[in-house]
């Protein structure tokens, strides 16, 4: 069989990640998730399934929530990516949703947490519904196995609509 593309066939790519512009060359087989994790060392985006089934790698591409494991990095020339590492204020201060996650104990093992937060942030900017059932529906692409669901929804509601 053919040996397939060699790393020397890497393609040039320019994209912005958390406000920093990167001029790089990447293996065309490399997913955005592997690019973020392996090339940029941004390991906050997690690889739970590598199949678009768990949501642990949710990031923002040009402001919209996307699964980093389902994108090839080379397709994202010119894109602006935000990962969990880019959510806090420049001075390190937590985003209110991160703070709400802590206060509502919206995590246990923490592995799904970055994806939940990235999804929750996008939901809030999309116009978060008031009905908790609708929020749950909109967050159902982000799996949690430890059972932090109640806290996650409570944290998102609080940031979207204020404390009841």
């Amino acid at each position: 069989m053919s040996a397939g593309p060699h790393p020397s066939q890497s393609l040039p790519l320019t994209l912005s990640v958390n406000g920093i512009t990167h001029h790089v060359s990447v293996d065309p087989r490399r997913s955005l998730l592997d690019f973020l994790r392996e090339d940029l060392g941004l390991t906050g985006s997690k690889k739970g399934c590598d199949h678009g089934q768990c949501g642990a790698c949710t990031i923002h591409i040009n402001g919209e929530r996307r699964l980093a494991c389902l994108q090839y990095a080379v397709q994202l020339d010119g894109a602006a990516i935000t990962t969990i590492e880019g959510v806090s204020a420049p001075d390190g201060g937590l985003h209110p949703l991160q703070d709400a996650f802590i206060r509502h104990d919206a995590l246990q093992c923490g592995y799904c947490t970055p994806g939940q937060i990235m999804s929750g942030l996008a939901l809030i900017s999309e116009g978060c519904p008031r009905d908790p059932a609708a929020i749950r529906e909109a967050m159902s692409g982000n799996l949690c196995r430890c059972g932090a669901h109640n806290g996650i929804i409570a944290a998102i509601r609080e940031v979207a609509h204020g404390r009841d």
Binding site: K47, G110, A133, R136, L143, C146
Partner: protein, 715 residues
């Protein structure tokens, strides 16, 4: 003791919400190689040939290992290793001929014992090259006839004899009511969100493994034995573990294999399990088929309780689901008969999964009790109270503490049980059938020895160290709180380091034992530190001032806790009651769990918020068990078909209602200074039965298998 002030936030939450928490695959040592495994597509079989030439030719591929050359890394089959790895658990209970043969160990022979078995490892520069290499391996399998099904009657396992029939001394009248039925539960997969991975760095005669494990010390022992090196040359680091639920409780081949690869290649190696690997390379809960027979007198007093379980294990492994454990001791039947029959099959070795035994076992028993209650016209809560075991009848010991009756009362009051109709199909809401159901939960409260070290620094801050892991349970937070309370300082002064095998000894995080084992050691360490600081002459001196007075830069003390005396005169269990409301749209079979109230008697609650979170987790596992979780094997090849998170559904946000957790918070006077029993499992047992019982109350439909089939909910 219970803290009056508001609970501290989870200690490692900041790292987790910022993405700074580093899990096993997040470490990127310079020059790290990526390793993935190739799974056999069917079994039983023999590898006729395995051609790796094309794989080795893929640019970036550094090495390919199969049973033909893995020995070059020092990898070998060795009976002495079997007991240290997951394959060994339970073999001593089975005692059959296969238990005497070498256990399964991948890449040591041409036998394919189960579909999904690892038959090759590709190591490459980069993930993409490793994947391409995997695709290039050419495997030629020769199918073998399936093994003759041999039935084994195991002996004692976990806390009970797997074949036991006895008369308890309780008296029931002449049997009036009989329930006899079979119950089935499927293969279940742990599905922690973090797939297991091991990053191994071999350097200068020792290896550091960044690993995802529930037990750093047990991993160290097994890996060192596999490598043939001294334990001090193996360091297991698992500071952050992305969930376990039993999948990371035993030691699996990949943990040692990563170390062998790194040693052989003299490069750091990350061996990553894919989601599809998890169900075949880090265990599963097996399917169960259980038969229950209940006989009760006119008042509902049990004259007979039989619980017969048929469960599989692998061709050479040992673990099987001990479904009848709780039936031995939870209800005061006049006669109790528990049997287990294990069949060897060409499947991967099952392993403990959150509340092993109790979870499928309680589905059968607690459903059968609901059937009996309905038949006898006795309220399901009342039926359980009438059969309350005021002592552990199997071990013939009193309970250390048992407030189950109060759990029933509080749960019933909170969910509005008094308004429940005894007859099904009496309540509707927006056109949907509504029902209430309940079940008992129980789980043992073991204690193992543990050690904790505390170090007071000149700044007044205190370092707390132990090899225990925090897999999401809150161990860091509990340690900080315990040491801060004992020293009389703010938890903000405490730094906790855990999850490293070189730190003081602690047991694996599993079987609901960690807190009860580690907290007494933490308390002892803090008291030992105070003692080293000398008598407190002036009460207004800070710890830092007292340290300065001794003229030392820092001072350390270790505390140790003892295991429970095997001759203990009491039985230690946690208890609880689940109450569930469901809505059923019968026309389309849509079932929704709309309310869960879980009331638990787990002794003292050390940290209410974290404790509630952990119970919710168990409850949600129960919702998944009842509604959707099902591992499917291909009937011809044995391959696990639902080896991903789309085909193996777990509860998503839309499936999870508000879960109300209520702790009695009554200290167990015999559980050491804190009076706390464990919480890790008890949220799960009984929950699926409580949902099924609520479905019956809503609709008159009795469901005896999980996940509840659509055909049983509609039509």
């Amino acid at each position: 003791m219970t803290r009056a002030d508001p609970p501290l936030p989870r200690l490692d939450a900041l790292e987790k919400v910022t993405g700074r928490a580093n899990y096993a695959a997040d470490l990127q040592p310079q020059g790290v190689l990526q390793a993935f495994a190739l799974r056999a597509t069917r079994a039983p079989a023999r590898i006729r040939s395995i051609d790796c030439e094309n794989a080795r030719a893929v640019p970036g591929v550094v090495a390919v290992y199969t049973h033909e050359n893995a020995h070059e890394t020092g990898w070998r089959a060795d009976p002495a290793l079997d007991a240290l790895f997951a394959e060994g658990l339970g073999r001593s209970a089975l005692k059959d001929a296969a238990s005497q043969l070498p256990a399964y160990r991948p890449l040591t022979s041409d036998e394919v014992m189960f579909a999904g078995q690892w038959i090759a490892i590709v190591v490459a520069e980069g993930i993409e090259a490793a994947r391409q290499g995997l695709a290039a391996v050419q495997v030629n399998l020769e199918d073998l006839p399936p093994p003759e099904p041999v039935k084994i009657r195991p002996g004692p396992f976990f806390a009970g004899d797997m074949q036991h029939a006895f008369t308890t001394g309780h008296r029931a009248g002449a049997p009036r009511h009989r329930v006899e039925a079979s119950y089935e539960t499927p293969v279940q997969l742990h599905q922690p969100l973090e797939p297991s991975a091991t990053t191994a760095v071999w350097q200068g005669g020792r290896v550091i493994l960044r690993d995802s494990t529930q037990g750093t010390r047990a991993t160290r022992t097994a890996v060192a034995a596999s490598l043939g090196v001294a334990e001090e040359n193996v360091l297991i680091h698992a500071e952050y573990v992305g969930g376990g639920f039993g999948a990371k409780n035993q030691i699996w081949p990949h943990q040692a294999l990563a170390a062998h690869l790194s040693r052989a290649l003299q490069r750091p190696v990350r061996l990553q399990l894919t989601r599809a690997d998890l169900g075949v390379a880090s265990g599963h809960r097996s399917e169960t088929r259980q038969h229950i027979r209940l006989e009760a007198d006119a008042d509902g007093r049990l004259a007979l309780l039989t619980h017969h379980s048929e469960i599989p294990t692998s061709l050479r492994g040992g673990f099987f689901e001990p479904c009848g454990l709780s039936s031995l001791m939870l209800y005061a039947a006049q006669r109790i008969e528990v049997r287990h029959e294990v069949t060897r099959r060409a499947i991967p070795t099952p392993t403990p999964f959150r509340a092993p035994g109790e979870t499928p076992g309680s589905f059968a028993l607690e459903t059968a009790l609901d059937e009996l209650a309905h038949q006898a016209g006795i309220d399901p809560v009342e039926l359980r109270l009438r059969n309350f075991a005021e002592r552990d009848l199997y071990h013939n010991r009193p309970w250390s503490s048992n407030h189950l009756a109060e759990c029933y009362a509080r749960g019933a009051a909170r969910i509005g049980w008094a308004g429940r109709s005894a007859l099904p199909r009496r309540h509707r809401r927006d056109g949907r059938l509504v029902g209430l159901g309940m079940a008992t939960t129980a789980y043992p409260a073991p204690i193992l020895p543990a050690s904790v070290r505390v170090t007071l620094r000149g700044t007044g801050s205190v370092l707390v160290e132990t090899s225990a892991t925090d897999i999401g349970t809150g161990m860091r937070s509990l340690l900080a709180q315990k040491v801060a309370d004992t020293l009389g300082i703010s938890p903000a002064e405490i730094e906790v380091q855990l999850g490293r095998s070189e730190l003081p000894d602690a047991p694996t995080a599993g079987r609901s034992k960690s807190s009860a084992s580690v907290m007494p050691a933490a308390g002892a360490a803090a008291r030992a530190l105070l003692q080293k600081l000398g008598p407190e002459e002036r009460s207004n001196l800070t710890l830092a001032q007292r340290l300065a007075a001794l003229g030392q830069p820092h001072i350390s003390a270790e505390g140790h806790s003892a295991p429970r005396d095997p001759q203990a005169e009491h039985s230690f269990y946690s208890f609880g009651a689940h109450f569930v409301e469901v809505e059923l749209e019968e026309q389309i079979g849509r079932l929704r769990v709309t309310r869960v109230v879980s009331v638990l008697d787990c002794g003292t609650i050390l940290h209410p918020r974290l404790a509630e979170s952990q119970i919710r987790g168990g409850v949600i596992f129960g919702i998944g068990m009842a509604l959707m979780e099902e591992g499917l094997r291909h009937p011809a090849t044995g391959r696990l078909i639902s080896d991903n998170l789309a085909d193996y559904a777990i509860p998503v946000h839309a499936d999870v209602p508000e879960i109300e957790v209520d702790f009695l918070n009554i200290p167990d006077p015999l559980m050491g200074e804190d009076g706390a029993r464990g919480l890790g499992e008890i949220g799960l047992p009984g929950l699926a039965a409580a949902i099924g019982n609520a479905v019956f109350n809503a609709s008159g439909r009795r469901i005896r298998q999980t996940p509840f089939p659509l055909s049983a909910l509609t039509g």
